[in-house]
Amino acid sequence: MTEPYFFDPLQLWRDAVSKLEKSTNERANAQLKAPGVARSLQDAATVSFGLQQAYAKLIENYLRQANLPSRKQIQDLAETLQRIEDKLDGLLPVAEGLQPSRTRRPPAAVAAAATATAEKTAARHSGGKARRTRGAGARKE
């Protein structure tokens, strides 16, 4: 059943957001392929990373003056601790529960095998019945 039409400004707004997202992405992708734009972006990124590095250097100098560890020193310490933890992990026995048996068959194969078994059983039963019938007939004869 289709919903009755009525003017829904919020739905229009949602559709507009999706369309704007799509068209902005497409336009940006097309522009990024132009070598001039790519170069400008790379230049902007280089300047941005350069500024970040200069700022990081400034902070590092300040922390050294204040006799405080920098983020990098703490990271190095964390990495050292991680390496020690790795080595400890290597020494610990892996504790896991009982391993399941590795005998699982695909459902299709299980179903096919079950059908085959059922058919065999049915054939055996019908064969047995037939033999019994024949035997009874022979005795009657």
């Binding site: 997202e21 992405n25 940006a28 070598p35 790379q42 990124a45 590095q53 590795r102 194969a109």
Partner: protein
């Protein structure tokens, strides 16, 4: 007043819609406040044990959920740029959980942020050391000589490189998810890494380990408006708990993009993106040329039709180039991540992958 006079406004779709919108606005206000103080969403909750960890490399084993599992263990190789929990987001939304519930014995090569000591790691380290080491450990842990491998994105590429160099490896079947081969089709990444505008050697020299912010900025540049639009959609759907949970998990995954070792990044830019060496057959690792024809094991490649990170054209040559007789490419509607997580994956990708693997895991 209305009750005393017996008058009530007629229930038109418009009034119903307005009432719904007012309710949602109230909920948005309350839930927005809740969200501001909420802890990060839980992810990667399938029970697991870390079997091996060496720097950036981590091998985990997920605890079996069935009494009987398939004989051949399954090793998932994740892309080094992202955490593996995208494949184990939440109960009911987890590829790993799906595999466990379908009787597979699941292992995963996951990655941690590389340290400065690992700045020089290269493709050779991943293909000739990390993956073989993990396969050996899976064999040892499972007691089985054979292993099946599923590689996602760059994890698929590393698995393909490994298999091309180890024709007699214990890997019996290979599944690749959105695996790039022809990098000339990855237009935007190529533009961003163009020799004329990007000094990769200087960049690697300066940083050593490429910051995660650079990697995620590269991904975001492919769809620059999507992050902002995502925030607007989040606000619009704040009343919807399920939407918010799903959004926050994916957002967390995106925010936890991993840094990359400079050596690996340099090779990716120079050899893969600029020279397209894997597609052209000129890529050499450990002194040996990568020839995809040497891959002869059965292979399934699942490609996303609207993948903006690895476009279908970039991944399509895999099936053509491998030497396997038993090979199949499945193109599914959706994007790069929809192969691994989300409604599309639950409905289409995982069942297809499960059916392909189950007969090949005994």
């Amino acid at each position: 007043m209305a009750a005393t006079t017996g008058f009530s406004w007629p229930e038109s779709p418009l009034t119903e819609r307005l009432r719904q919108e007012v309710e949602r606005s109230v909920q948005r206000a309350f839930k927005g406040l809740e969200l501001a103080g909420a802890p990060p969403p839980q992810v990667g909750r399938s029970p697991k044990t870390t079997l091996y960890r060496r720097g950036t490399l981590e091998l985990v084993h997920y605890r079996a959920q069935m009494d009987e599992v398939y004989r051949i263990p399954l090793l998932i190789v994740m892309a080094p740029t992202n955490k593996g929990y995208i494949l184990d987001l939440a109960p009911g939304q987890s590829f790993v959980e799906f595999l466990l519930q379908h009787g597979f014995d699941v292992y995963m090569v996951d990655w941690n942020a590389p340290t400065m000591m690992e700045r020089d790691l290269q493709l050779e380290d991943y293909v000739l050391d990390f993956i073989p080491e993990c396969i050996r450990r899976v064999q040892q842990h499972s007691g089985e000589a054979d292993v099946n491998v599923v590689g996602y994105c760059a994890g698929g590429m590393l698995s393909v490189l490994y298999q091309a160099l180890h024709a007699d490896s214990p890997v019996r079947h290979l599944v690749c998810l959105t695996t790039p081969i022809d990098f000339s089709k990855m237009d935007l990444f190529r533009v961003m890494s163009d020799e004329g505008t990007f000094d990769v050697d200087g960049f690697v020299e300066r940083y050593g380990v490429i910051p995660a912010s650079v990697i995620s900025a590269g991904f975001e540049a492919l769809r620059p408006a999507t992050k902002m639009a995502g925030q607007i959609k989040l606000w619009d759907n704040l009343w919807n708990d399920q939407f918010v949970k799903g959004f926050r998990r994916m957002e967390r995954w995106g925010d936890e993009t991993l840094p990359l070792p400079g050596g690996y990044f340099r090779q990716t830019v120079k050899r893969l993106l600029r020279e397209n060496a894997l597609f052209k057959g000129t890529l050499q690792l450990g002194g040996e040329r990568i020839d995809l024809k040497k891959i002869r094991i059965p292979l399934l490649h699942m490609v996303a039709q609207y993948d903006h990170i690895v476009p279908a054209g970039a991944s399509a040559p895999l099936i053509r180039q491998v030497g396997s007789q038993d090979k199949e490419e499945v193109v599914l509607p959706g994007g790069h991540v929809s192969i691994a997580a989300g409604a599309n994956a639950v409905k289409r990708a995982w069942p297809k992958l499960g059916r392909w693997l189950e007969g090949r895991s005994v």
